[in-house]
Symmetry: C2
Subunit: 432 residues, 2 copies
């Protein structure tokens, strides 16, 4: 690419992230030439409706259009920034922009996680940038950190609070003792949750991000459709309270670790000991802990969403382009990840938290402990409290056990007729 004094941008989308980018760019208009020798200019913005009011003015000199051709067919545009979300039109825009020889930057985690391979191949074939810093953890530069700052580490594990909506809801439930539905509707009123919250509270958004982090950390593909995912939509504040009593917080955690038997990964509500920095991540923040073979534990914390934090991430990719950096899209030489060797999720070994509603009979604790012991699960701490007559919650934490042993133990308890309600069972993040 010829080194022009300006890097010219075409935006697809001018919603929260698009306007955030425009704001961040205006804030940095003096700084960017000092850092890169070039200015960034938004020339054309693709929108569905040019007359709709915007949260931030259209930058001076930029024009709105409803025609994708105004981006793709304009030889002056160097980079197409895709900020419309979704997986159909967005994919088409990115593919065609790369085919037209333009660099691309995107915040689209769903698209890249579910169906990104050919985009990375196209980018590599054209020696083009495919920047996606904004697709994971908002303003935290985790993509750059895994591709560059920690690039010489064999990654042992990574653990992230990757969805601000869930973290906000869980924080509210923790601090106010309110129910999930109330916390969700408050989050919706504040704009922290969508009208249809499934993607967030079901854990699927965190799963998309985890798939991208796994690619960056290990250069391998853990297919999104195979990733074990459990959301927070059935979270009961009573478990948050019991966890606190035991010295833990419950967070929705995306977790991946490399074992001798392959990669273990999933998104689960997880108990974190209060001595872990991850446990103190409150509100709509994100945080990621990376354990590297040499660096050991590195922890990053910041805003997981929001207009200008996401704009900051988009700009970091644009600065790489403005600096004429060599594309380093995947962080590896190969542009297509190897299929991950996946450790059977049934064999993942973790400590667990249980809450069982059991009859208040003598001998119940013995029978429960027996069903656990039969499956090789040993109990570490237990809390038993009187509550309703006849039925009591039996709360305990176990030493490490396989997911299969936990399933089998619960089936056995069911068989013995000991469960008066659906059992609650969450993983605990063990110190490593």
């Amino acid at each position: 690419m010829e080194h022009k004094k300006e890097l010219v941008l075409g935006l697809a989308g001018y919603g929260v992230v698009g306007t955030g980018l425009a704001r961040a760019l205006e804030e940095a208009h003096q700084l960017i030439p000092e850092r890169t020798g070039r200015s960034l200019r938004i020339k054309t913005i693709l929108v569905r409706d040019v007359s709709r009011p915007r949260e931030w003015p259209v930058p001076e000199g930029a024009r709105l259009t409803t025609s994708l051709e105004d981006l793709l067919g304009d030889p002056e545009i160097d980079v197409v920034v895709e900020l419309i979300g979704g997986t159909t039109t967005a994919r088409d825009i990115l593919r065609r922009a790369l085919e037209a020889g333009k660099h691309v930057v995107t915040a689209n985690k769903a698209l890249l996680a579910e169906n990104g391979e050919d985009l990375f191949r196209l980018a590599a074939a054209g020696n083009l940038h495919l920047g996606f810093e904004a697709s994971v953890a908002g303003g935290i530069p985790i993509v750059h950190t895994l591709r560059n700052g920690l690039a010489a580490n064999r990654i042992l594990s990574l653990s992230g609070i990757l969805n601000g909506t869930c973290n906000y809801i869980l924080s509210e439930m923790t601090h106010k003792g309110i129910a999930f539905n109330q916390a969700l509707s408050e989050a919706q009123q504040l704009g922290f949750a969508e009208a249809d919250p499934t993607l967030d509270v079901g854990g699927f958004d965190a799963a998309h991000k985890l798939v991208l982090l796994i690619r960056l950390a290990w250069g391998v593909e853990y297919p999104y459709t195979r990733l074990p995912v459990q959301g927070i939509d059935t979270m009961d504040p009573v478990d948050i309270a019991f966890a606190r009593e035991l010295g833990y917080r419950i967070k929705l955690l995306g977790h991946a670790r490399m074992t001798d038997n392959g990669l273990e990964a999933g998104v689960f509500p997880t108990l974190l000991h209060e001595s872990f920095l991850l446990s103190s991540v409150d509100g709509a923040f994100n945080a990621i802990r990376v354990k590297g073979s040499a660096s050991r534990s590195v922890f990053l914390h910041g805003r997981g969403a929001g207009a200008t934090p996401t704009g900051s991430a988009v700009l970091s990719d644009l600065l790489d382009i403005a600096r004429d950096a060599k594309p380093n899209n995947t962080g590896f030489l190969r542009q297509t990840p190897f299929p991950a060797t996946i450790h059977n999720p049934d064999e993942a070994v973790d400590p667990y938290y249980f809450r069982l509603q059991v009859p208040d009979n003598p001998g119940v604790l013995r029978d429960v402990a027996g069903a656990m012991a039969e499956n090789g699960i040993s109990i570490a701490h237990a809390i038993q409290k009187g509550q309703a007559p006849d039925i009591v919650p039996l709360v305990f934490m176990t030493h490490k056990a396989t997911a299969l042993a936990v399933k089998n133990a619960l089936a056995r308890l069911e068989e013995l007729g000991l469960l008066r309600a659906a059992p609650v069972c969450y993983r605990v993040l063990a110190p490593e």
Copy 2:
């Protein structure tokens, strides 16, 4: 530079960091070619005494030498990695290596902070890398983060726990209630502090790092010799205890913020509210909080020293070189920082913590509050406790005041004969 299958390294020094690099490199020997297409090989290691026993074997195929010429005169060596510390020989090695057309990587914060300018100029003139990720905050990739991940942000402030020795000592004093000297000698026994601890406990090491962070954040030079620095060597555990009672921890903080009147910076023991993530950084860890115009607050935490964490940082620079990345040494186009516009340190505005030993007379609190008020300082919280007969500690926190007002108020109290011992006075990091 020709793209060879190997990047060949010459090391100067094979102590803690050198052996840590060798270990980290061995751990990553499969990964690095996957990430860069090349292997890294240590060919020659400059040491003072080839017969001295080492903490880690000399890598296979490498040889020890006592002659710098074996590094500089060897055309096969692409990069000289300077890990001997000190500012005289190290400077000579780096300068001559750059003049010989070799990339350099260093962990030497003192050298770069006190006298780095011509090295950056030499590197730029030769289009060479001058990597210094390892010189600040060990395994935390803060140099890459400021140069790349957060590069499009106007930095509003940065605050760091930059010296692991001090943080270890303060943590021990906090958790065990022991005196500074005892904590220091324990740290020395554990290898966390040098026999001569002045550079660490005097705050000078943190000051070197802060100067480097300021260059990366703002592209300006705050001369090391002008930076206000206060160490922890006079820290009394009683102040740590009073601070805790008020909901604060005391940390040695390197802090810089951009104000309308210029840059405000310094290294001071500082009270951090326990709700700040920085306050929960314990032991020999480092952490840095960066506030960017777009990203807002980003917090990074990890090991500030140690063999392989520092090795990880050195390797991150070596991977940039192995990837044939364009040198981006300063993070700015200019290789020589502008002189910083420095806000008069006397005019820095912060809340303060005071502990005064005052006579136990009626009217003393009135007189103290009067001396404060005369200087425009208002008291936010006060604790007064009976202790020795006749003399009591008067502990209070103030609203924001200038450093000059604090000086003047203390002089006035002295003049009034109200101080029975040297006053203790620390800054408080205010929420921004």
